[in-house]
Symmetry: C2
Subunit: 332 residues, 2 copies
């Protein structure tokens, strides 16, 4: 525990080497590391009162996400703010190489002393990715960062995870022709506080303006949320390449944050997120007993029988449920 206390002190003092070590601890699946990680975060929460602005950023490959983060991150550090960039990529376990990828695709920011980039670790379970990201955010917040950018690639449910961790959710899109399918995953548009149409430069400028109008229209068709002031969610054009609209985007984000802080929605959202993750963590760990043999194998087999109509659903469910047993203290 003395070790942890020291770690907390140097972390809050801004030591980047300790920050990286703390995150590695959080990412570890070893049981003793896990215990230390929980203790560390619990200590950090007691010691640090600092609140960062947590911005979620989603966008499919090709929309210019790396360029945007480089330019947006550098803009923020020029304003005197410190920035941490985290990635949520449940697919990196399969594709591999994202650790090298992250640092080489944001070379400017990687060398910037006011910025910190942490790539996504290889993890297959979404529950694990969620916990790791949440805890890394907590550590970066305690370490004093002003802005935490949480980037995701638009695979599966990673957007939902990010939206339940961040204060502001941003969607980055490329300009598209009038009738062209933009490929926005169903369900992502609804999470966005701000849609940024990138590449509003050169030949694509007009197209970006039209795409922006399309999304503004689509956003108006959705129900207004309590945590939104007039005019939100909003769509706007930017050009990361020409550094155009970057300060405007930051103004929109910080205005929205101020509005939510004053109206109480900012704190309310964080409280709701904490409750959500408490329930999710408990559910996730309770449900994890379904992933263990012999139940896992039985469930796979019985699911095929139900799908093909050979077995009744309710009877099949009962067969599996009857097998389950948990001893007090076994979980947790």
């Amino acid at each position: 525990m003395t070790d942890l206390n020291k770690m907390v002190e140097t972390l809050i003092a801004g030591d980047r080497r300790v920050l990286a070590r703390a995150i590695t601890l959080v990412e570890s699946s070893r049981e003793d590391h896990r215990k230390s990680a929980v203790a560390l975060i619990s200590l950090l929460e007691k010691k640090s009162q600092k609140q960062a602005i947590r911005i979620g950023l989603s966008g499919t490959p090709g929309v210019g996400k790396s360029t945007f983060i480089e330019v947006f991150g550098s803009f923020l550090t020029d304003c005197g703010l410190s920035v941490a960039v985290l990635a949520v990529d449940p697919s990196s376990a399969r594709s591999g190489g994202s650790i090298l990828g992250d640092k080489t695709r944001m070379t400017l920011l990687a060398r910037n002393p006011a910025a910190f980039i942490r790539p996504s670790p290889s993890q297959t379970h979404l529950g694990g990715v969620a916990r790791r990201t949440r805890e890394t955010v907590a550590i970066c917040e305690a370490a004093g960062f002003d802005v935490i950018l949480i980037e995701t690639v638009g695979v599966g449910q990673s957007e939902t995870i990010v939206s339940e961790i961040c204060d502001i959710f941003t969607l980055l899109l490329a300009p598209a022709g009038g009738d062209e399918l933009q490929g926005v995953k169903r369900g992502i548009m609804e999470l966005a506080d701000l849609i940024l149409i990138n590449k509003a430069d050169g030949d694509l400028k007009d197209q970006a303006t039209r795409t922006c109008a399309d999304y503004s229209g689509a956003l108006r068709l959705l129900r207004k949320r309590a945590q939104d002031p007039e005019g939100f969610p909003k769509a706007m054009t930017i050009s990361a390449l020409e550094k155009d609209g970057i300060s405007d985007a930051w103004k929109v984000i910080s205005d929205l944050v101020s509005w939510r802080q004053e109206s109480g929605h900012f704190e309310l959202n964080r409280s709701e997120q904490s409750k959500f993750w408490l329930h999710e963590d408990i559910r996730y760990q309770l449900l994890s007993i379904l992933d263990k043999d012999p139940i896992k194998t039985d469930l796979l087999e019985i699911a095929e029988e139900v799908a093909s109509g050979k077995k009744n659903l309710a009877l099949a469910a009962n067969e599996i449920l009857k097998e389950i047993s948990i001893k007090k203290g076994e979980l947790g």
Copy 2:
């Protein structure tokens, strides 16, 4: 079991009184009723090969849902098809009176011998509502109905439930002015196969056409799904009042059904739905131990401590998880 065998025979023969009794059995929470219900459905599945077209219909109050169901249902029975109308309304437990409501708001269809209307029972748990609706659909399908309309009011997660039960999901909307918020719940548009803009009559006709164009545009911005032929999801105008566009809507629906049947997506979707519900049922019943005291009360208390920042999330989760115990055979 002899009783159940007789019930199955008369049910498949088309006895409406027995149909109503079977549904009541499925809705009961008494343990012996539950056992009979499971046995009944298992028997029905073995005896009946009939497949209905299951159409989900969502729309907020005021869009003309009752009028549409009356007119659409009557159109189908005029075509020689039998129709069952089921309602999914998790809120009816609170608002009350929906049992009377359903039959009085669709007086024509209620007297139609080729139609069967079953209002939503009072149930608070979404898991219960989902199971009851799924099983009622199975019974109606075995009873030989050609089309099953599953109506929902757009409260909470009821649309997700309906979309995982039906073959085609339809969203009914009213015309809206250009900039007016339509109040479509985020996440519902993404479920729709077909958006029907109702009230395309009289003064509202032009407005309905414009609203339809808006939604067509918004739908084009979403990613194409494998189970959709060219041009889907689709938006179109109708007038339930003037019985305009009703046969067109049916043509669009039955063409989509044919396309999916021929491409294999229809069966694939049903298989996936079965698997989904098997896992959901098992998860729901496993997680239900969190709703029992003392865990329930402890969880409520600890969630407030986490929300206010008094307690660390991971430590709180572990405290709850350590309490959990399940004996083999206790569930199911």
